[in-house]
């Protein structure tokens, strides 16, 4: 396969919401290209008409009754927030 370009890495970083330094980006580009190269052999396996396996228990959607359960303690949950205002989690502005 063709090596990844710096632009490819930038695109993935945007999709993944991860900020990388320039040095990290270049390391990532080299390492991902190398790892993906090892996966090329997969294309040699004939998978025509083969169903995909998502998981191995063969169960489908599991339904339960929509009944209220005791909730987690609000304070226990909120005490983990990096920034909190009373019973709310505070976030940075969503719109610039």
């Amino acid at each position: 396969m063709d090596p990844l370009t710096p632009k490819d890495v930038e695109h993935i970083a945007q999709l993944a919401y991860i900020k990388l330094s320039d040095e990290e980006s270049e390391d990532m580009r080299v390492q991902l290209t190398n790892i993906l190269g090892h996966f090329a052999s997969l294309s040699s396996v004939d998978t025509d008409g083969v169903e995909a396996t998502g998981h191995t228990t063969d169960s489908n959607s599991v339904m339960r009754k929509d009944e209220p359960q005791p909730p987690l303690d609000r304070d226990d949950v909120l005490k983990n927030a990096p920034d909190r205002d009373g019973e709310f989690v505070r976030v940075r502005p969503v719109l610039e």
Binding site: D8, V9, H11, I12, A13, L15, A16, Y17, I18, K19, L20, E24, M28, Q31, L32, N34, I35, L36, H38, F39, S41, L42, S43, V45, T47, V50, E51, A52, T53, G54, H55, T56, T57, S59, S61, V62, R64, L72, D73, D76, V77, K79, N80, A81, P82, D83, V89, V91, R92, P93, V94, L95, E96
Partner: protein, 493 residues
């Protein structure tokens, strides 16, 4: 130092032996717990197998357990009063849970995962939380944000990973049982490198609720122990059907120890030749060949077989696991918990900064790999293709189990390597899991037990069974254990 030698009997007891001592009133759970806490204090500077130790909670739990063992309240279980460790990717109510990541430092879960609830109900005494590769991504415990774990057999070497703290703690006698998680070998590989027993049960037998998710279709909880019987007892406690994990199976649960004395006479055991890869170390190969002779001597019918798709398992795994990880780890946005970034101008910048700073290199690499494999234009070539080959790998195992009761392989191609030896090239590190990964892809049960020594370091022997054939691999492993002394070797630490 007479107390020292008396205690070394205790440190390396199995859980069943400790339980017999409780019943004979030779020692109480509180006494055993204090002895383990002392041992942890002494050994942690050289091992680093715990991220968090919880002495007050452990003593309080041991006091309750002692009452239960003496007839108050509920009937005791096999684990009542037994000091254990759980890996630090298990949610524990009111006890910091980090997954060995900077992004979760200080996170205090408001609930227990189901495996932890089951252990608490059984009366087990949790000593603390085990070190691991960050988010269980690694094969050497070197990606932990809390520093590497050292192998008790040689502290310059890795204990394996990702449940490296669990492997080291059980091998060194810091606890009697440790619970880990296994996505591609993360229980069995450290068990092999530390010379203890480790089992990944059939996918779906242990609820994943409260296990910090890595690869949801592959992750499974299981024990690391000093005997096969302890593994069976531990699985009896943690396995359960759970409405909070829709992949947890509803099948009736058998006693995992039911066939433990059955032996291997007449059992058909296959040796898949693809597992004896070129890169296998001579000492591991020699130990494996000797183990095959032992099994034959016990009456097993051993024959070679072929699973040609094994060669593609690593690619399938390193597409599927990172893809699932990239989705699972998208929840770490620094808003509701974990590392936040309060100086950013916008919410999106805050998330990018928190994740950039909070995740280590290996975790970033896997998120990038998975994000790429799932992205527009590449999904069919990578993710879908890998899922299709996954179907074929499953079929290949299903066909093999028409002929064989179990398969046997080395657990790892080599013994514990030196810290720092494989960190430069990520793909070399991935090759450590070559014998364990196919099992997760197919959702099968598999156990690694001590199967020899090479240059003074432990070698693991792996049995693989058909889906829900957990009691079969336990039976085969127990027969081998009775016929050998490897499990009685302990590091001089």
């Amino acid at each position: 130092m007479t107390t020292q030698s008396a205690n070394s009997d205790l440190y390396f007891s199995t859980a069943r032996e400790l339980r017999a001592k409780f019943d004979a009133r030779e020692i109480s759970s509180v006494e055993a717990t204090r002895a383990m806490l002392d041992r942890i204090s002494n050994l942690e500077p050289s091992l680093n197998s715990f991220i968090t130790v919880t002495p007050e909670r452990a003593i309080a739990d041991a006091e309750m357990a002692d009452q239960r063992l003496r007839g108050a309240g509920q009937e005791p279980t096999a684990l009542t009063g037994i000091p254990i460790m759980v890996k630090d990717n298990f949610s524990t109510k009111d006890v910091e849970t980090t997954a060995a990541s900077k992004i979760l430092k200080g996170y205090i879960p408001p609930y227990d995962g189901t495996a932890v609830s089951n252990l608490k109900e059984a009366g087990a005494v949790i000593l603390g939380k085990g070190n691991l590769d960050e988010f269980a991504m690694g094969s050497s415990n070197e990606t932990s944000a809390f520093g590497p774990v050292h192998n008790p057999w040689d502290t310059d070497r890795v204990p394996g990973g990702s449940s490296g703290g669990a492997g080291a703690a059980v091998a060194a006698g810091e606890c009697f049982i440790a619970f880990g998680s296994d996505t591609g070998g993360s229980i069995r590989q450290p068990a092999a490198l530390c010379g203890v027993v480790g089992m990944k049960p059939t996918y779906g037998l242990v609820s994943r609720f409260g296990l910090l998710a890595f690869g949801s279709s592959l992750d499974q909880i299981g024990p690391l122990t000093r005997s096969v019987a302890d593994t069976a007892d531990a699985l009896n406690i943690v396995s359960s059907h759970d409405h909070r994990d829709s992949t947890s199976v509803a099948a009736p649960f058998t006693d995992f120890a039911q066939d433990i004395d059955g032996g291997v006479a007449g059992m058909n055991i296959g040796v898949p030749k693809e597992y004896l890869v070129d890169g296998i170390e001579p000492g591991v190969r020699a130990a494996f060949e000797k183990s095959l002779e032992t099994l034959e001597g016990l009456g097993a019918n051993i024959s070679e077989t072929s699973l040609p798709l094994t060669d593609h398992a690593l690619a399938v795994y390193y597409i599927i696991a990172p893809s699932e990880a990239s989705a699972n780890l998208s929840r770490y946005d620094g808003v509701k918990y974990g590392l936040g970034s309060l100086d950013a101008k916008t919410s999106a910048q805050a998330t990018e900064a928190a994740r950039g700073e909070g995740f280590g290199d290996e975790v970033k690499r896997r998120i990038f790999l998975g994000t790429y494999a799932l992205s527009a234009g590449y999904y069919d070539a990578y993710y879908k293709k890998a899922q299709q080959v996954r179907t074929l790998i499953r079929r290949e195992f299903t066909d093999a189990f028409l002929k064989f009761d179990a398969l046997v392989t080395p657990t790892t191609p080599g013994v514990a390597f030196n810290i720092g030896d494989k960190t430069e090239d990520p793909f070399q590190m991935y090759l450590n899991d070559i014998c364990t990964i196919p099992v997760n892809i197919a959702g099968l049960p598999s156990i690694s037990i001590p199967g020899g020594m090479s240059d003074g370091l432990p070698v693991g022997l792996q049995f693989i069974g058909p889906q829900f054939g957990d009691t079969t691999v336990i039976r085969a492993a127990a027969a081998y254990e009775r016929a050998t002394n490897w499990h009685q070797n302990h590091p001089l630490i």
